[in-house]
Symmetry: C2
Subunit: 332 residues, 2 copies
DNA sequence: CTGTTAGCGCATTCAT
DNA sequence: ATGAATGCGCTAACAG
């Protein structure tokens, strides 16, 4: 860890004033090519790096965004949220300061405080699953975007997946493949995700004249077990469904197990669609599971780009969930 | 975004000098309780936050570590790596600056440069899976720790999982449960992880007089498919194994499928152990999979704690992989 | 115990 | 086109 080399050192060695060095550092036009070259080579020789904090203090420009998560970082999904934000930030010469609060409100307040002290230029607050949150009031002192969550009064811009659209598209896809008896095993119903997906399912059915009084609707829990149970229940019906739309890929895992036990072949005997596109599950299931993707990566990107845009519109962005086709759906 | 309030404002309002304010800010003892209280209340009134960059410039103390990843952030495992580091750092008043390079060497160099400019107090370089890496030379200008990887010349401290120990423990656990014909379906053999786990498997067998010339050893790929294939192959043997140790949980997924097709019950007919403890798979498989955990969280913590310790010893830390008991192993 | 002062490294006037 | 001077907000050293 040798002595830090400052702009002064560069200036001295290049026999110019610090101002000139600063100018070439910042790509200022009015520097003769001659001196510019000389300075650049000195910078390289000395391996000089500008002191970020000094520049920051001078320019009031921290080139940093804060990224606060409740426990998102724990879940496999949402890594992509971070990564999308990361990439978008990096491409714009910004870095991310990440704090994980485990949903502890005291920590959240601390986190916001720390970010304020570090003069981040904006804050992203991301949650593990879509929900309504209450935030430390201090967050309003900065541009902020909510990721995968929203505040009750809509006072903060937010970006969330279009659960409704996803539910609709999954169901419509099945319909377009000729299915008419389409079951839906939803995840735990308190969740915003569950509500949205369910509305989409019902709407698609209705729009295609296939409403059936929720005869094939089942309430699951988000765990494979419930998929297993409900699949059994469903298949024992007098006229069982020809397709099962699962509220999560994990539910689909359970459905697969039950179906296999019953010697039903996927997709020949019955089609299955999941939700979440957890690669680790969906891609490795046998056969690979067709499912809806929650566009975490793009959501992360969008949040940063919104911050970068400087807009103060309180948009409530819903991002579409695309259908990921694999091998669990068959046309009949 | 109202005008920033500085230490000057606080001093004026409290009718003291800035030095005194600075002292209470830094918990300096020699301040009368009286003035301390007054200043504190002014700080609260004004909602004053010290300017981090200014302090940093003055103290040469950035309270920040850099965390560079190749693509770790993409994978579900390693989120825990970040989280462990995160938590340990936060508890010591440090924050993490995270950059994901996608394994792009140019980006890696940029990342190190940015971290140098921001005066991080140390760098953690983490990879998605254990391997030998080459790093931008500039990284040597700072304390650095490698996570889940190492450099060829051992010139940098590193912390990796004890793959050997994990392989050994998994095998020994099976042995202690009375199994003697123990198969091992390894993941793709180029990986360090595969080599270590295999050595552990062989050593445990040998130490218990169970060596069998690798009769039950199979080479898989890391995908469920290979587990499926190899399980069929294994079970068709004249004297099939009574237990299968899988190089990854994904392989175990395939093994489960094959076993179920063959109407073998887990664990009654055959025991299975996985590796990785990918909760999303292991906990949801039916029955839940007993497996070896790679201690990512603790590895992350350790890396930070090592940095914090200020040690310059080039330790090569191997962290034990504990056995996570679920329901796929039975005593015979 | 407390006020005053001198930089930390840089970007930006203002001269030249 | 370039050098010199100023101050961003803070901590530490020095006086008292």
């Amino acid at each position: 860890m040798r002595k830090r080399v400052t702009i002064r050192d560069v200036a001295d060695r290049a026999e110019v004033g610090v101002g000139t060095v600063s100018r070439v550092l910042n790509g200022h036009p009015k520097v003769s090519d001659n001196t510019r070259q000389r300075i650049k080579s000195v910078i390289a020789d000395l391996d000089y790096h500008p002191h970020f904090a000094a520049r920051h203090m001078r320019t009031a420009n921290s080139q940093t965004f804060g990224f606060i998560t409740d426990q998102i970082a724990t879940t496999p999904y949402a890594v992509k949220l971070i990564q999308g934000a990361q990439d978008a930030a990096f491409q714009n010469d910004m870095l991310l300061l990440i704090i994980n609060t485990e949903g502890n409100p005291a920590l959240e307040a601390d986190a916001v405080k720390l970010m304020l002290e570090r003069h981040v230029e904006g804050i992203i607050f991301a949650t593990m699953y879509p929900r309504i949150v209450t935030l430390p009031p201090a967050i309003h002192q900065l541009p902020a975007v909510l990721l995968d969550c929203m505040v009750a009064d809509g006072a903060l811009p937010s970006v969330v997946p279009d659960e409704y659209g996803g539910g609709y598209l999954a169901t419509r896809t099945l319909i377009e493949n000729g299915h008419e008896r389409i079951a839906f095993i939803n995840l735990h119903q308190e969740s915003l995700a569950a509500k949205g997906r369910l509305r989409g399912y019902r709407a698609a059915l209705r729009d295609h004249g296939l409403s059936n009084g929720d005869r094939y609707l089942r309430q699951g829990t988000d765990w494979a077990d419930s998929g297993y149970q409900q699949a059994y229940d469903l298949m024992r019906l007098a006229t069982p469904p020809t397709a099962i739309f699962c509220g999560t890929d994990r539910i689909a895992m359970g459905v697969y197990d039950a179906l296999k036990e019953m010697n039903r072949r996927i997709p020949d005997d019955i089609s299955v669609i999941g939700f979440d596109n957890q690669e680790i599950i969906a891609a490795y299931l046998r056969p690979p599971l067709s499912t809806m993707e929650v566009p975490f990566y793009m959501m992360g990107r969008f949040a940063i780009e919104y911050l970068l845009s400087g807009s103060d519109e309180k948009i409530q962005k819903q991002m579409a969930c695309p259908f990921i086709e694999r091998e669990s759906v068959r046309t009949i």
